[in-house]
């Protein structure tokens, strides 16, 4: 079935009563003065919004000086916003070669126009403008569309570490008052189990909190950029925007240093601002200098400190998601257990067929929860 922009565009034009020229003009970057219309569209589509959406939209789509135009595209007819899609410009590094790409996020269409083809059209229009598009995560409604418009390339896999027994008991079994009796001894067991997985900090390394990344993190990121690897480059500007300035969630960043040299970092969150009855915390993103023979030890020490910090902060259970085999030994050494039933899909599309083929080798991607914008 031919799904090209040129073939399908006349039909969406007919569905919306627009000429092809009007249709092409209608899809464009948003301007800041349209924020109230954007928020109105988002209110009509999003349910269970627990965050301050105006603050979030301003931060995510209108705050980064690194982008010349707002990375929020709207479909507007007579100044009325009918659909929209958020973007996150990133630098993708494929076999050591850097290239621009975008993550697409938050695609939405006004509910009364749902199913007319506008969502598909916005995707097709973005494919024409941006040569590489990435999507992490899907829901029941979007999965089928994403599978057909992008290539489902790999799944992030999950590891979990229970901290408080109630987080598991309440989710798995309706035990009622019995849970209150069983929980304290089980908590002691879980604490003893964590002690078994303690790892020592390698000689010459210090572990400490980081308030904000400095440019040395890019040098660390570049050590991951090699043949056989596909990765979104971490820069100080990107990481600080994403994790330090994020209005929706507070993150903790822990660094491993040899002297002043950054050897690795881990980013965690325990978001209690959203509905989170199990107090589920996440190991969100990490890097540890891979050229060093002790990189697993550095990552293990960082993960241990991350777990310790989240435990102190009151986490009930900690999860860690990744699509790479590199980190799994350190994750399991920190006491996490693999959860085969849980997956988060990752999709990619590149306009160049050879590059598209290269990007769909799932085993070469390094993807963490930091590649997913849901907090």
């Amino acid at each position: 079935m031919n799904r090209s922009f040129e073939r399908l565009v006349p039909y969406i034009g007919r569905a919306l009563g627009l000429s092809e020229e009007e249709l092409t003009r209608a899809c464009r970057p948003a301007v800041e003065s349209e924020i109230q219309s954007i928020l109105s569209l988002r209110r009509s589509v999003l349910t269970d919004v627990w965050w301050d959406d105006e603050r979030f939209v301003r931060w995510r789509y209108f705050s980064r000086s690194a982008t010349a135009e707002a990375p929020y595209w709207v479909f507007a007819r007579n100044r009325e916003i009918l659909g929209a899609c958020g973007l996150e410009p990133v630098t993708l590094v494929v076999d050591g070669v850097a290239m621009p790409a975008v993550r697409t996020l938050d695609i939405m269409v006004r509910p009364d126009l749902d199913g007319l083809g506008l969502g598909a059209f916005i995707n097709l229009a973005l494919f024409r403008r941006f040569p590489i598009a990435l999507v992490t995560g899907s829901n029941e409604r979007s999965h089928s569309l994403l599978t057909r418009m992008f290539q489902h390339t790999v799944d992030l896999r999950f590891w979990k570490l229970p901290i408080r027994a109630r987080a598991v008991l309440d989710a798995k079994v309706a035990m009622g008052p019995l849970a209150a009796v069983l929980a304290p001894p089980l908590d002691l067991f879980l604490a003893a189990r964590r002690r078994l997985h303690q790892s020592s900090v390698p000689a010459g390394i210090t572990i400490r909190d980081i308030q904000a990344f400095d440019p040395s993190v890019e040098e660390l990121s570049r050590t991951y950029e090699r043949s056989g690897r596909v990765i979104v480059r971490r820069t100080a500007e990107y990481l600080n925007w994403r994790f330090v300035q994020n209005p929706r969630c507070r993150y903790r960043i822990v660094g491993a240093f040899a002297g002043n040299r950054l050897e690795g970092y881990v980013v965690t969150r325990l978001n209690l601002a959203r509905p989170n009855p199990r107090r589920e915390a996440e190991i969100v993103d990490w890097m540890a200098r891979p050229s060093d023979a002790s990189s697993d030890t550095v990552l293990a020490a960082l993960l241990h400190e991350a777990v310790h910090g989240l435990t102190r902060a009151g986490a009930g259970i900690i999860s860690c998601a990744v699509a790479t085999s590199d980190s799994t030994s350190a994750i399991e050494a920190a006491g996490f257990s693999f959860r085969p039933a849980e997956r988060l899909p990752f999709f990619v599309k590149a306009s160049d067929p050879a590059l598209h083929s290269r990007l769909t080798v799932g085993a070469d991607w390094f993807i963490t929860r930091g590649d997913f914008d849901v907090e």
């Binding site: 079935m1 799904r3 039909y11 969406i12 007919r14 083809g117 969502g119 059209f121 569309l145």
Partner: protein, 91 residues
């Protein structure tokens, strides 16, 4: 029937339409019946609607109006459109 080989103006039977829709929406043959609602066909989404519009135009010469588009809620609605446009024959 492979509708891709058909010329605009062809007539089809309901069974052929069901097979054609199953192929378009990536469903096993036989799963789609006239009573199947759109909500039970995952690929009849935003992209599926565009592909359906395109296919009806290219293969039957039928250009859906905005009203027809908005009212498509089940496979029977597609059969009704083909009937109205005299493309459906009972066999």
């Amino acid at each position: 029937m492979t509708r891709g080989n058909a010329a605009p103006g062809d007539t089809v039977t309901p069974a052929e339409v069901l097979d054609w829709l199953a192929e378009m929406f990536e469903e096993p043959k036989g799963r789609i019946t006239p009573a199947t609602p759109r909500s039970e066909i995952p690929a009849w989404d935003s992209l599926g609607q565009l592909l359906l519009m395109s296919a009806l135009d290219q293969q039957f010469g039928i250009r859906l109006t905005q009203g027809e588009l908005s009212s498509l809620a089940s496979v029977q609605d597609i059969l009704d459109i083909l009937t109205r446009h005299q493309r459906l024959i009972e066999k």
